[in-house]
Amino acid sequence: MSEVAEQPVAKKKSEALLSKRRRKFVSDPLVDDNPITIQVLGICSALAVTVQMKPTMVMSIAVVFVIVFSNLIISALRNLIPNRVRIIVQLAVIASLVVLVDQVLKAFLYDVSKVLSVFVGLIITNCIVMGRLEAFAMGNKPWDSVLDGFGSGFGYAWIILTVAFFRELLGSGSVFGFKVFEAIGWESFPTNGLMVDSIGAFIILGIIIWVQRTKTGYVEN
């Protein structure tokens, strides 16, 4: 009896680590279901930390870390978490991970942590993270949830990095602090103050969404 019962379980487990179904968890949020451009979540930090590439890079890594591990932890505990306090449990896990990230940044990347200031702490309230926990991790297996976390994290990361690239290039004339225009001999490049302001982020984000929706044909209803 027991042998027969074990068989289907073993078969199910043999699904490839990166099967087509699972690859979709990672690829979907990159474009088709992007947390920023389609779901329009996490806009606040996308505006605030994207003045320069370096802090944006650190912020991206921080968000990917938090979203992947909170997805993993919540998914692993999903059958133990009491339903009535599940949101609090999710928040506690996210908050702990965020505080951890904040402490690590303060110890090793003090300059960047000063630039990011409250926005590291605000990852706690980033709807992308909470949204994935509630919508995905509470009902799916740990590995699937990890992949989902990577998908959403990278979806967030590439957008804010693109925004930061253009903002730093046009606003400060540099990329990762490297003076691009001076290097090619164009020293009088007129930097655009608008790009250093959060308004610049809105404009670039708007252009990205425009280009993306023109290509995918996505329409909000």
Partner: protein, 240 residues
């Protein structure tokens, strides 16, 4: 069972202990690294009031070479030991803790920057911004009147508004302004409301649009702290 109150209490309790334990462990392990970073940052800020530091500069070496630090009391006397007889180190004096004491009981570090035979006096300042504390360092020339430079920082001012006090462009505005008026009264240097309203006299500079309250905090902080150092200025002038 999963929905019973006992289970919920138990689950929450265990979760709190596990997460809390994990975080305190991490904080303990990372503390020495953070302290080092803060020391480096403090020295960077002190030097930042008088010079432009490059990323590859060895801040600690420049600091040791150029800066001589002492601690003075409200009366302007130099103190070398604290109450328990331990030697006082100016860099270790916690300005924030002292800020909570009565000004007369506070300890005031003075960082002297020596370049040739000129001495610049770098003084820490501390106060309240709009959301949280703000602080910085003012560098005064040896006439105790001309501002040679300023470095400002904050804990929670609004990015793009009050947080602009950390920008070089804002801090540059203080350069070569005077803190005493023609009748030798301490007036400090104040940011006005609004931006681009210049030219200003010797005691006023452009403010930050949208961050008037942070600006007021900075004004108050500079005036207060220069006032606390006035006795020291007098004694130091006599000595020179």
């Amino acid at each position: 069972m999963r929905q019973s109150n006992t289970y919920i209490y138990l689950f929450s309790g265990i979760m709190t202990i596990v997460l809390g334990g994990m975080l305190s462990f991490a904080a303990e392990v990372l503390k020495p690294f953070q302290k080092k970073q803060i020391e480096l940052d403090t020295k960077k800020q002190i030097l930042g009031a008088v010079m432009q530091l490059n990323e590859q500069d060895d801040v600690l070496a420049i600091y040791d070479d150029k800066i001589q630090s002492i601690v003075v009391t409200y009366n302007g006397d130099v103190v070398e030991q604290d109450d328990s007889g331990k030697p006082l180190i100016a860099e270790k004096v916690n300005i924030e803790k002292n800020f909570k004491l009565d000004p007369k009981e506070r300890l005031f570090p003075v960082f002297k920057y020596n370049e040739g035979d000129k001495t610049t006096y770098i003084l820490p300042i501390f106060g309240n911004g709009l959301w949280n504390n703000i602080w910085g360092y003012v560098a005064l020339g040896d006439d105790f009147n001309t501002i040679k430079g300023i470095a400002l920082d904050h804990r929670g001012e609004t990015p793009g508004l009050g947080a602009r006090i950390t920008e070089k462009e804002v801090q540059e505005r203080y350069k070569s302004k005077k803190v005493y008026n023609s009748s030798q009264e301490l007036v400090g240097v104040s940011m006005v409301k609004g931006e681009g309203k210049g030219p200003h006299d010797d005691h006023h500079i452009d403010g930050m649009a949208g961050a008037t309250i942070t600006g007021n905090g900075v004004n108050e902080m500079i005036l207060n702290y220069l006032g606390y150092y006035e006795n020291y200025f007098k004694k130091e002038k006599q000595r020179n």
